[in-house]
Amino acid sequence: MASVSVRRLAVSFGHVKVIENLDLEVEEGEFIVLLGPSGCGKSTLLNTIAGLIDIEAGQVWISGKNVTWTEPKDRGIGMVFQSYALYPRMTVQQNLSFGLRMAGVPRAEIEARVAKAAKLLQLEDLLRRRPAELSGGQRQRVAIGRALVRNVDVFLFDEPLSNLDAKLRNELRVEIKKLHRDLGNTMIYVTHDQIEALTLADRIAVMRNGVIQQLATPQDVYHRPKNQFVAGFIGSPTMNFLTGRLILGAAGPTLDLGSVSIDLSAYGFARQSSDVPAVLGVRPEHIDLGAASPGHFAANGKVEIVEPMGADMIVWSRIADTPVRIRVDGDSAFRNGDDIAFHFDLARASLFDAQSGERL
């Protein structure tokens, strides 16, 4: 039974349709990340699941109950916000217990739950402090604690780490992952940060213009992107795109780039295709230097720009006048103008229809 199920959802603000006919099934105990650029409707979807935004059509089911018209507090959810949204004049203790007190939970039960959450999130020494006296990371831990004490099945996170600096973000990211491991709750997490998505998610839903482009494991999303948008959105540095024409000749399929032709016989086609304009996507780390292996496409070029990034280094060269990035070891020595030979495995590449952007 799905823990959270969104069926044929439609949401609009005034005349603007933000989400149309969206389906999403989240399994019990699953960690789903909604990933996409700003304005793609991911936060709207999350707020709809929380019951904070009225929907136009469709249904929302949580833990087997139709909660489409249920108040947020009765949906069995806890939510964590980007701005922490802590009650400003209350101590951490009061922040954690206020909702429970309003719900009429017995005092002893409240104390037990607060103590448990405080222990889990290492907030015990901070219980007497007010939000203004806490650091950003501590505030967000309190906000997570406030969701925790509600003893709910589903946690919703709305860009919880976006207001933190890079170091704290990494620390808290691991803490959230540990929390999911220890609690085993269903979690739905909205972010625009692909690293967060890739590290945390069981499955990632990549969204664009209110439509889920691909819902798959981080591996699948990264290595077998369903369309060109997903391929370009995920991965840093970005995937290389080589635009040409797919030709299904007698000698096997090739991609004609004009001056160069790439043999595609090693590529695993996702579906039947005809001669169409196509785009070949190759990740920078899948291009290797040196002599070619069988089934690989090999090329020679000159180094145009070198970008050292510490652990690795991005070398810019060209294939048939298209700039390509090649990720090499950070300790290599390259200089502009050096001649290099490189190759890549077509089995690891992705081919897209240039018109629809769909994977071929």
């Binding site: 707020n47 929380a50 019951g51 904070l52 108040e71 947020p72 507090k73 009765d74 959810i77 806890g78 939510m79 916000f81 980007q82 701005s83 922490y84 949204a85 802590l86 009650y87 400003p88 004049r89 209350m90 206020f98 909702g99 309003m102 719900a103 906000a143 406030r146 509600r150 709305d158």
Partner: protein, 296 residues
């Protein structure tokens, strides 16, 4: 060179301001206090009669009634403005579509001076001209609303007119505060299932504490200054039943030719204000001083 004298040209530029502070503010204050120890009548004289004017002041019915009235007026006016202004702000905030219209309507009275406010309400509440006369003309001949002519009620009507005039200002301040409240705070409270009125009571109002302090200070200065609204509405009457301290001072200074008594009353007002302000000033300037020094 001492750091204090290094910026002498800055101090020079500030000199006019210093002169105004020393002579216009402090100078007149000292002069007023000095006068309160004299037996000056129409013209200031420099004798010394000790605390005799104060003794007389607190045996003057008109003064004790003034003090009583200003307490009633001040309490009602400040509380009324804060409560009503906050409620109006919540109302406008929730009805975002008509915000501009409503805001203008509620702020309009503020565009009028206290004199005009007093005059208008004096007409409306005057039993012979306003509300009572009209209702009687419509046929309800036994209708009576003549608080303006009842000595123990008039001051409440003055407070009412004051609230009518000033609650728009409080609304504007509160509205700015409400708009500054993080929208995610509302969402978080809804997830926690907190009833709306409790969100306002336990989360929003505490978060608006600085707005309430600002509004209270503004209203409190209006209370201390209150003179024009009383003059326009009741002229202190019926009899002396709606007198206030500021009116007492002005009347005795310019009409009744009793500088000694008037300055004694002014001094009592000054001391009262200082006593009320001291704790606040202490908190503002002295408590933060150690931190400021550490930062420097």
């Amino acid at each position: 060179m001492q750091p204090r004298f290094r910026n002498w040209h800055v101090q020079l530029a500030l000199l006019p301001a210093w002169l105004i502070v020393v002579f216009a503010y402090l100078g007149t204050m000292v002069f007023t206090v000095r006068m309160s120890f004299t037996s000056s009548k129409g013209i200031p004289i420099m004798d010394d009669v000790g605390l005799r004017q104060y003794d007389r002041l607190f045996h003057t019915d008109r003064w004790t009634i003034s003090v009583e009235n200003i307490l009633i007026f001040g309490l009602l006016f400040i509380l009324g403005c804060l409560v009503l202004g906050f409620l109006l702000a919540v109302f406008v905030d929730r009805l975002a579509r008509f915000e501009n219209t409503l805001r203008t309507i509620f702020l309009y009275p503020l565009a009028m001076s206290f004199v005009v406010t007093g005059l208008v309400w004096q007409w409306i509440l005057n039993p012979a001209l306003g509300l009572q006369a009209n209702v009687r003309n419509w046929g309800w001949t036994s209708f009576t609303f003549d608080w303006l002519e009842q000595g123990d009620r008039a001051i409440y009507l003055v407070a009412f007119a004051g609230i009518w005039q000033s609650c728009g200002l409080v609304m504007a301040i509160m509205l700015a505060g409400l708009r500054g409240v993080d929208q995610e705070l509302w969402k978080a409270a809804r997830i926690d299932g907190i009833p709306t009125w409790r969100i306002y009571l336990h989360i929003i109002i505490p978060a608006l504490a600085p707005m309430f302090i600002t509004a209270t200070l503004l209203l409190a200065t209006a209370v201390v200054r209150s003179y024009d609204i009383v003059v326009a509405m009741t002229a202190g009457g019926p009899g002396i039943s709606s007198e206030v301290p500021a009116k007492f001072v002005i009347d005795f200074l310019f009409t009744r030719q009793n500088i000694g008594l008037a300055t004694a009353a002014a001094t009592v007002m000054l001391i009262t204000v200082l006593v009320v302000l001291m704790p606040w000033l202490y908190l503002q300037y002295f408590r933060s001083a150690p931190g400021a020094r550490r930062a420097a």
